[in-house]
Symmetry: C2
Subunit: 352 residues, 2 copies
């Protein structure tokens, strides 16, 4: 229960050092964090302690065998000062899906939901009210148990840390459709929010950045024929007036923003299709003018319009639309998140 979670209060607060008008993404942390340890076969009762470093043995398996998973969600403050989460149960369920695939013990629901609620109530002053800002919530779990044998650890740590944050991307994004590297294997861990899925993307993303692209759009690892996701976000394509995104599978993250955007789009009367999207289809549509929009969708990225994509050394510019799906859908979803509109889907969760 939320009120039963013990709190060890920080002696002083750092909040007065923070410039809430100029927040970067995920670089400032609040005064407290929630922790629970898996030991002797069970997760300990969660507790809130001052935000502090973690001390680990050099043989802790997190350093060697990559057992780490995370979630990302945001807390939003409305004009009345109430604090809201967006579909937190979806994050909880996905955390445990990731845990299972990485052979990490699953977390009890109350540790997540009650723990998060208690932590956010304590830290509610840290939720920014500035437009576009929010309190980014980072639940994560990793192997703290030791040993050089390549097998699952016997001890794990679960932490929720909070970071008041501004926008993830600034401005429109230029992306590269990948032809060589891959993010995930069939039968692999691509659908999990596993640390290793991110590290593998950095080098190809650096190569893309050297050519002027901010993100890579990953394609299937067999033939690089179909568009999958963009690592930090799922990808939507609008051809004529139809909004299309790839189906989730064991390579593609089941994004909460992705599925919410699909529901909102249907509610808006937009024709949506969840099906494989080939690179050829997108390139052909760009050439013949039927490609109207591309955008990414994710908790951190919200809805990020794509200005242009590169493929086989050619850049394809997307048109500038006055009344884009991206802007309409972004407004709808953020209005729900910030409690500025009716919550007809029942997605908001009131923290305080």
């Amino acid at each position: 229960m939320v009120n039963n979670i013990p709190v060890e209060k920080a002696k002083t607060s750092k909040i007065h050092n923070v410039d809430f008008d100029n927040l970067a993404f995920g670089t400032t942390y609040t005064d407290h964090m929630l922790v629970s340890d898996f030991n002797d076969g069970e997760w300990s009762a969660p507790k809130i302690i001052p935000y502090q470093p973690v001390t680990l043995e050099p043989s802790s398996k997190i350093f060697h065998y990559g057992q780490s998973i995370f979630e990302g969600l945001k807390a939003y403050k409305d004009e009345q000062g109430s604090v809201w989460l967006f579909r937190p149960m979806e994050n909880f369920k996905r955390l445990n899906k990731s845990a299972k695939r990485l052979a990490i013990p699953e977390l009890p629901e109350s540790h997540f939901i009650d723990g998060l609620t208690a932590l956010l109530r304590l830290e509610q002053d840290w939720v920014p009210q500035n437009p576009g800002s929010s309190l980014y919530v980072r639940p994560f779990m990793f192997a703290s148990g030791t040993g050089f044998h390549a097998s699952p650890a016997d001890k794990y740590k679960f932490i929720i840390a909070l970071a008041p944050s501004g926008a993830y991307f600034s401005g429109k994004v230029k992306v590269l459709i990948e032809e060589k590297y891959s993010r995930a294997a069939n039968g692999g861990v691509g659908y999990a929010k596993a640390g290793g899925n991110y590290a593998g993307q950095f080098y190809p993303t650096q190569l893309a950045a050297e050519k002027g692209y901010q993100q890579v759009i990953w394609t299937d690892d067999n033939n690089h024929e179909f568009i999958e996701e963009a690592g930090a976000m799922n990808v939507f394509v609008r051809i004529n007036d139809t909004l299309i995104t790839a189906p989730t599978n064991d390579r593609i993250l089941d994004g909460i923003t992705r599925k919410s955007i699909l529901d909102i789009a249907k509610d808006e009367g937009i024709d949506t299709e969840v099906r494989k999207v080939s690179v050829k289809e997108v390139v052909d549509a760009a050439k013949n003018g039927s490609l109207k929009e591309m955008f990414g969708a994710g908790t951190a990225a919200v809805v990020s319009p794509i200005a242009a994509f590169g493929y086989k050394d050619v850049d394809y510019e997307l048109p500038e639309l006055g009344d884009s799906y991206a802007s309409k859908l972004k407004k709808r979803i953020t209005d729900i998140q910030y409690n500025r509109a009716e919550d007809k889907f029942g997605w908001r969760y009131k923290v305080v």
Copy 2:
């Protein structure tokens, strides 16, 4: 230079608490470790300090984005008490290959080779002399820099830790040829010793263990048609008198034991083939009696004979051979490693 590496000595030694006759694999650590930190664009001069915990911010990227790589090698003590490494430059080169793919800054050669030599000279009493035992050497590198933005860290830590160890596998190994899950994607990080590659194998390996198998033999993620590697080791198949192993590629680790075994086998006059091996070929060979042996090869596993493999709910037993390639090749390679035989390939590296 080896002698210039500063040493902060441990106040007491733990060596007298260690039962060198009953060593597990990688669970006991020596008194000291080597550390170097990447900061402001360069790796600091390595130093030797007492083996001790590592303290990290909760926002350190190792916990979130999986930037971690490692190496594994062994130090062997001969009958005269001299300590040897086996092809350590190969580990150094592979560490930097892994680093590059994971967007981790590459390490200078002297940090690795001189650092390792200095550490092993200091800890030489920890190298076991018992048959089958050795001092397992674990160089590893991970992102210590902070931030929730999914991008490479700006700070990293390199550590070499040492663990006197017995055998990785006890007895013969029963393996399962995987039909559903995969270890690596084309264009992915399978060839790197990245932490995330291991975490992804644990759950399928647990499922295999529930059916009585100790290891999974991974197959390609497209059709599960070809044998790749076994996660903790590369795989060799002997059909009639020909020894076959898969070529390395971006999904398969370029094992140092693997390539040494190939060289030794050729030197022994054994017919070797490096080519794709289909599951069908192995199953057919098992059925018609031409499959004589299967074994794994890796630093930890050395040469581990496979007693049986499972595929599509059928177990295929391998014959018990009096004079197997596995036993012959294991003797040749360990005789070189422990300085019991001529080193015609120039693989040994004398530490002290």
